[in-house]
């Protein structure tokens, strides 16, 4: 599956190799791995909520948009939900192309739009109690700058 939302952890090596398994046209794979940041912010545990159905569809639309902008040969997006501890893997984006340019760019593009469009919500548990994470303006700015980037195929 190109897009997966799951509670279970994933193996970065397995997911990365799956992108090019059985083919020889791929010359570059770019991957992003997001981890739960914790201790320094006082976070003991985090819970990820999503909107079953819409979340998967939203991720699929982001991948489709990336494929329109760049010539991509394979894409895989995995996002975990449920309770997660600091240091745990939370999100994986892998993009395969013929050359590194499109792989690097599309990987960043997918993450920027995942952060601002895909319906996920983080709740942090701290010693003072639990709190919902606020959306960051910087994430909106990161996604908005792609509107000015000309597609290169």
């Amino acid at each position: 599956m190109e897009v997966r939302v799951q509670e279970a952890d994933f193996d970065v090596g397995v997911e990365t190799r799956a992108l090019s398994s059985g083919r020889t046209d791929i010359g570059a794979i770019s991957t992003f791995l997001g981890l739960v940041r914790g201790a320094s912010d006082g976070v003991q545990c985090m819970t990820l909520e999503h909107y079953p159905g819409m979340t998967e569809q939203s991720l699929a639309e982001i991948v489709a948009e990336a494929k329109q902008r760049w010539s991509l040969l394979a894409v895989r997006v995995i996002h975990r939900v449920g309770p997660l501890q600091p240091g745990e893997q939370i999100v994986f984006v892998g993009v395969a192309g013929a050359h590194r340019g499109e792989a690097f760019a599309a990987c960043e593009f997918i993450m920027d739009f995942l952060k601002t469009r895909a319906p996920f919500w983080k709740k942090e548990q701290t010693p003072e109690g639990s709190r919902w994470v606020d959306a960051r303006d910087a994430d909106d700015a990161s996604a908005a700058r792609w509107l000015d980037v000309e597609s290169r195929r």
Partner: protein, 84 residues
């Protein structure tokens, strides 16, 4: 008109409700009108009023206030997303 409404994250918690089926009066025909209708329920519901940074989706697609509602639609309200 019967609709299913879903609430997520901090909104779900503050309303104490994840899902409801509502029978709307005939004059509530758009997402914006639904926001007005729900926000009149009381203090906790004020966040749904236009201009409070709560997003809406209809049938799992983001929807603006002008979006026209139809019988059986699945409407969702939620705060700005924070995944990744």
């Amino acid at each position: 008109m019967n609709l299913t409404i879903l609430y997520f994250a901090s909104l779900r918690e503050s309303l104490g409700m994840a899902k409801e089926v509502v029978a709307l009066p005939g004059n509530v025909g758009s997402v914006g009108a639904l926001r007005q209708f729900l926000s009149a329920r009381g203090e906790a519901w004020q966040r749904l009023a236009p201009g409070h940074n709560v997003r809406a989706a209809v049938n799992q697609q983001m929807a603006a206030d002008e979006h026209v509602l139809a019988v059986g639609d699945e409407v969702a309200f939620f705060p700005p997303v924070t995944g990744g």
